[in-house]
Amino acid sequence: MSAAASYMKPRRLPKGGLIDRSRPLNFTFDGERYHGYAGDTLASALLGNGIKLVGRSFKYHRPRGILTAGSEEPNALVELRSGARREPNTRATIVELFDGLEAQSQNRWPSLKFDVGAVNSVLSPFFAAGFYYKTFMWPASFWERVYEPAIRRAAGLGRASPEADPDIYEKLYAFCDVLVIGGGAAGLAAALSAGRSGARVILCDEDYVLGGRLNGDNREIGGESGSAWAHHASLSLDALSNVRVLRRTTVFGVYDGGTYGAVERVSDHLLVPASHQPRQRLWKIVAKRAVLATGAIERHIVFGGNDRPGVMMASAVRTYLNRFAVPAGRRAAIFTGCDDAWATAFDLLGSGIPVEIIIDMRTEIDSRLTEKASRLGIRTVAGARVLTTRGSQDLKTISVRTADGQTSDIEVDLLAMSGGWTPNLALATHLGSRPSWSDTLAGFVLNTPPRGMTVAGAAQGSFALADTLREGDAAGAAAAEAAGGAVQNHPLPQADDEHISSKPFWYVAESRSKAFVDFQHDVTSNDIALAAREGFQSVELLKRYTTLGMATDQGKTSNINGHALMAQITGRRMSQVGTTVFRPPYTPVAIGALAGHHRGPAFKPTRLTAGHRWAEECGATFVEAGQWLRAQWFARPGETHWLTTVSREVREVRGKIGVCDVSTLGKIDVQGNDAGAFLDRVYVNMFSTLPIGKVRYGLMLREDGLVMDDGTAARFAADHYVVSTTTANAGKVMQHLEHARQVLRPELDVQLVSVTEQWSQYSIAGPHSRLLLARLLGDAADISDTALPYLGCIEFSWCNVPARLFRVSFSGELAYELAVPAQFGDATIRAMMEAGRELGIVPYGTEALGVMRIEKGHVASNELNGMTTATDLGLGRMMSRKKDFIGRVLAMRPGLADPERPALIGIKPAARTARLHAGAHFLAVGAKPNMGNDQGYVTSVAFSPMLEHWIGLGLIKNGPARIGEIVRAYDPVRNRDTEVEIVSPIFFDPEGTRLHG
């Protein structure tokens, strides 16, 4: 038998484990076909096929295997699936095996076993901590072109798919009395006691089988195995209607006010999601109380070659053996400082796997353990340590130094290590709680958890199973009671005895070869020593200098060892060194899950007016205006350029008649005895004096005195106005008016409601507009110039529909705006087009509207840009001196009242054929283009079909005084320099005669 064949020989035990041997599953790893069983993780299936080498490390490209059996895994990162579903950096230890799974190793080239990048390991002196900062300083220009691309190629993890994700993701809110985070012994006990009290409980567990360590350990609870007890507990929970159990769900963040983020991997264990099922679901859980039962994470030991495939956590070896029936090796050794890992030796031996030696760093060991080992024929050495490991791509021998200084090599292919356990408090620190060191527990524990949260079980440092069950039970009951539940007493199951003595031991000082602290970021003990020598001794600096704990695993296995090393090197105690805290997410969360349905066209809501379908039928091209879609122009057959279409629309409106959907403009209904006084307060001009049946243009300032928005207010009764806003500012103006009403002037009798969606409104403009309305409305309304003069408004009933007609004009033509309830908007526009057919009516879009407003010098959002005052816009005279209004006082500040401020003017190209562009800056002819010579800028431009050349609006210093002057419109971004003449901003019909038709 060749060496390769023996290496690949399957290792599954003939029986046992939580796998279903009747359901074999096929999968591939790096293109090779293998099989595992339902219930396997990818890691257990790989180990079951004798695969130990699964990846290359981040920096040194060292061969790496499987270290853990949980979400804390730093090494076994693989790419899953292919094509658009390819997903990088998934942890093989939590990937649930499914039939047809494809996995690829990462960060190796050309192959996993022969990786060119491994040369980095030889060059490692250059890659020590801080190498980025030291090595690549000079020349600076090399950074972007040479160093960074080279580093990015050499160091790194998996590749994301460049294709769009074909799966769907969704978001859900959930509310509960008690959220239990973690479904191990403590979590199950907590959920059971809280659930039995009647409280609404949600239990989240990241695994697909509840039980946590109970499934990996060989334990007994109440006379049955730990995993059977967990299974029965999960059945009891499933039977309680007030308890929701979320399996495959990681609580990844703790937020203010009892809000928790969780991601449920709904379909990650399937080849493709079932139809209409999301791939993942994001939960936002609001809980009155939470029980953190996230257990503990086993620590590794820092010694030479501790990263070699075959060196694993002692608890992980037990998990693969007991839960998956996979012995992780053929000949094992144990390296530990705690009782716990001795169980690994006993479990392995019980399954027929020879255990060569137990190397315990302690000099005093519980005699019950040593006696049991000797009874089983296991050699044990106290006060000993592993100096180094050897083997090319997986473990062959370990070198052991005993207490008397003798060194010997032992042939093993599996080394199970344990440096003790660290309570897993990552989530508890998300809101800033800092854990403190406990000498008795040899770990960081939390004295002040976040509001509403209780920590129970191993996460609290209670490592004995009996304590864990009792604490979980009590925490669940207390949380339910605090949330209003009625707790019932029930007997607690009895757990078997165990040995949990432990002595912290962090690293083997005598090791000479590379000893890893952070596996995922390739931080070694030498890097920690270097950081200490160079003064980066605080844990926060240590982290940033060496990148310790900054990989995707957030240093779940590594941080504490790094901090302990720093403590030892600098002669401080752990309590003095302290620890870093964690930020969400606890484990990586796909951006797709956070986005949910909000992608592509559903990224934001799309608002359509009632006339949208009609506009589509008319061939409209639409433009986004905030969330709205508005018709931009209506091209006719044969029109190939938008400017042809827009110019035609302008000429037809000014020549005959056109109609434009203006329903998107904000409409606010203002009612109450003090409505007029209220509007006086928010507009710069007077509205309490506006006669009933009249409309007035109004300007609003922000508190700081700059212009906020413009629009009209129409008065229909003494206590009833209808205010219009620009489309873009509708929401902001509503908020501003509510602020004025509720915060600034709560004593006024006035009520506001937004009616933007309730009314369809159409602008009818052009010399034939009155004729059209007469045909359309018939006897329903008197629209004679006497009854409805310019800036008049009427309400009437039209075909039993309440309608409003405003005689206002943005185009400078004889124009009206007809408003009907939105459900009649579609019928109204169709009736209008029918009535106007003989008059030559055309629909026009926002572009033609824009051209006509520039021809008339009306300001719009280009000029209302948050930097202009009323005076800048030529509207200073509107500011009333007879009353107070929002923004009045601060508008008088010297900087805003400066007469030299850029003010509104019109511009024409000096050479009339030249084109103008918005955004160009004004310079005096001959002036050097620099900021000192900047005189203002062009805000809006349009081709005027009436004047037959380009025109524009702009803001220039001393504007109105400079009519007739020639300046330059200078645009260095687009490399343009055009001479323009300063003119009045009113280009067309300056006398306004057309308005009065």
Binding site: Y173, Y255, D256, G257, G258, T259, K284, V286, L431, G432, R451, E703, D704, G731, M734, Q735, E738, H739, R741, Q742, V743, L744, P746, D884, R888, V889, L890, M892, R893
Partner: protein, 87 residues
Amino acid sequence: MRIECPFCGPRDASEFAYYGDAKRRPETSGSDVSRQLYEAVYLRDNPAGRHEDLWYHGGGCRSWLRVTRDTRTHEIFGATFAAGEPS
């Protein structure tokens, strides 16, 4: 974060827009009004600890609320209508 709206009940913070210090705006007449208003608009206090903010429940009942919050922990102690209790 969640805010207990006196009209809608406890709601997610994403429904609210933050405005800032809830101190009353100075009167707009008087000798020193320009400086007082300038300070109210631009020089708001940002104390560490208990603070009264204005929040707008734009995604709900459109009430302006006076919210008492700890700026260090984001703990919300309560919210009242800025306009006073409805009569």
